[in-house]
């Protein structure tokens, strides 16, 4: 019977092409607008590392004295001091942990083929790649020994390797960063990361860095942060060594905690670390305070998806509702005009339920066609968004979930809009129309 209803729906579409096309257009515009904003929202709020997001925790410590406040919800600074990051990195637990900082260099080769250019870099520890599931096209991460000895080694992105070495393996080759040469030990495979969740302090939607170097080089080369660096009290920092020992926060720190037990144990360790630091005159608050947030909690804590985005999605759904209100009016007119035919069908044995279903199938079909057209309009909308802002390049796209959601939303909202007209036409008294036709 469903196929028969579809056949009747298609005939109805052809019988009133203008009204049907208007309804499809209204749905398509509503879906186009809604899917544009919803797709961006979906990509922004999507779990960037779903299979592991609940095992990766960012570490925050309450270093400030009593009475000082931070702009976070719980008053805890989002980054760590260098000395805390170094201490926690050298701690016995957990097995995998990573300290990091954003910086940048002037990049060039020992040839005149490539003009020097400025590139973002991430100073990090070697577990970064395995913790955040980054794979390599060539080579791999630097060793722990190279980390300890601040070896001049570098891992470069695929894009940078394509630019500098035409995509060939560059393992063992030298590149120049500022005034020093570094040996390439690894080239990353494609890493299409929409959201740079591992460092939300420096632009959540910025491009992933092209250079990755040992964290220990910060101290060795006195590298400054290209990211946020915050203080909460006056300190007389005259040189780099002072800065490393200061209470300024500028290092991000992550720990991989695979089980609840590991998380509990690490929490206890952080408490004991704070207690130990207290003896040295730091962490003066009476109650030690720390925070471990997993990837999704970290994204929420940092308001990655801003209220504006949520309001925009809400508004686009309201726009869809307006489109549906128009469709409801058109459906009412169309269905009630067909009441005489419904009267005949009822006389010939159609139950109210069958008539109701027939009309719902028709609105579902309109929704499906409108949904498909809406996807095309959404693609145009997303193209416009991508061209407006660079950092939306990866975000303003429709993934498979959104592609499948569009017709589902279109069909279900159309069915909601069609419920009343379908109900009205199915409960009309057939006897009235049979005589008057």
């Amino acid at each position: 019977m469903l196929l028969h209803y579809l056949d009747l729906s298609w005939r109805s579409f052809k019988r009133t092409p203008l009204v049907s096309a208007l309804m499809v257009l209204a749905i398509a515009i509503g879906i186009g607008v809604t899917m544009t904003s919803l797709s961006v929202y979906h990509m922004m709020s999507a779990d960037p590392i779903p299979h592991k997001s609940s095992q990766l925790y960012t570490v925050q410590l309450q270093t400030m004295d009593e009475g000082h406040t931070w702009w976070t919800g719980d008053d805890i600074p989002m980054q760590l001091t260098y000395q805390d990051a170094e201490n926690l990195y050298n701690a016995p637990i957990p097995d995998k942990k990573v300290a990091m900082m954003r910086t940048g260099f002037s990049v060039y080769l020992d040839s005149d083929k490539v003009k020097p250019f400025i590139s973002n870099a991430r100073m990090t520890t070697p577990d970064f790649f395995s913790m955040f599931d980054v794979s390599f096209q060539y080579g791999g991460a630097w060793s722990q020994q190279q980390e300890q000895s601040a070896a001049p080694v570098v891992v470069i992105s695929k894009e940078l390797n394509d630019k500098l070495f035409a995509g060939e393996s560059s393992i063992g080759k030298l590149i120049y960063l500022d005034d020093d040469s570094y040996q390439v030990v690894g080239v990353l495979a494609d890493w299409p990361l929409n959201l740079k969740y591992y460092d939300l302090n420096n632009g959540a939607f910025n491009k992933v860095e092209d250079l990755f170097l040992p964290f220990s080089l910060i101290k060795a080369k006195e590298l400054t942060s290209w990211g946020n660096s915050n203080g909460w009290k006056h300190e007389d920092t005259r040189n780099f060594a002072d800065r490393l020992q200061s209470e300024q926060v500028w290092i991000q720190f992550w720990a991989q905690l695979d089980t609840a037990e590991q998380k509990l144990a690490y929490g206890n360790y952080l408490i004991s670390y704070i207690e130990e630091q207290k003896k040295r005159g730091r962490f003066t608050r009476e109650i030690p305070q720390y925070s471990l947030r997993d990837v999704n909690q970290w994204m929420e804590y940092n308001n990655v998806v801003s209220e504006d985005n949520k309001i925009l999605v809400g508004l686009s759904f309201m726009f869809l509702a307006v489109c549906l209100a128009n469709i409801l009016g058109l459906l009412l007119a169309k269905f009630l005009r067909r009441a005489p035919e419904v009267g005949v069908r009822r006389a010939l044995g159609a139950s109210k339920r069958q008539v109701f279903l027939q009309h719902l199938v028709e609105v579902a079909m309109l929704g499906f066609i409108g949904g498909l057209l809406g996807i095309i309009l959404a693609q145009i909308g997303l193209l416009g968004v991508r061209q407006s802002y660079d950092y939306y390049a990866n975000l303003a796209t429709m993934d498979l979930t959104m592609l499948l959601s569009a017709p589902v939303i279109a069909i279900s909202t159309c069915i909601i809009a069609g419920l009343y007209p379908a109900w009205l036409v199915c409960k009309t008294n057939p006897a009235i129309y049979l005589k008057s036709q």
Binding site: H4, V344, A347, G349, A350, S351, Q354, K435, S436, Q437
Partner: protein, 236 residues
Amino acid sequence: MLKMNNISKIYQTEMVQTHALRDFTLQVDEGEFIAVTGPSGSGKTTFLNIAGMLEPFSEGEYLLDGIDVGKLNDNQRADVRNQKIGFIFQGFNLIPDLNLYENIEVPLRYRGIKASERKRRIEQCLEQVGLASRAKHLPQQLSGGQQQRVAIARALAGEPRFLLADEPTGNLDSLMARQVMELLEQINRDGATIVMVTHDPELARRAPRNIQVVDGQLADFTLYQGAQTIKSAAGA
């Protein structure tokens, strides 16, 4: 076949209460051919709509083939209507977008009959009404008489035991009306029970039993049995 006891139908508006039928009692036996006559507004069509379960009645009891219609819900009424009753309307009421084959197919689809069986019945009915070669034509490509024959074919396709005809020849010229009437008589001879509402006294006289409805009540009936005519007051 059909038994109505003290059926009343009241149309209620805010200002007026209209009794379309009052204490209407009638029994129709299997295989009968009854013509229902009466002035306009007397309640003939209301009677037919109630008989066809297209309208509920306000009071009384209605048994169709032993089934108490008053106790059926909408789905059950639709099923009974689909399986036991065939309708023929004055305005033919064919669906303009569907060709003849598809029009006749409508009641069969609602009954859930398989495609092969539907095809057999439709071809047989079209043959019976002499329109087998027009199966793919749309209703508007046919004359009024032909359209009414299609409507009869549609009513017959479900093999109903009870045919309700509301002015079946009202929109036809005399020649076509005669042809349609002959077709109905043939269907009656084949075993179907027919109740036909008509204004045409000539046509009514061809039915073996006439009943007259006046002011929503059964006024009298006449039996035509060959040359003998028996006329009596209702209930006599």
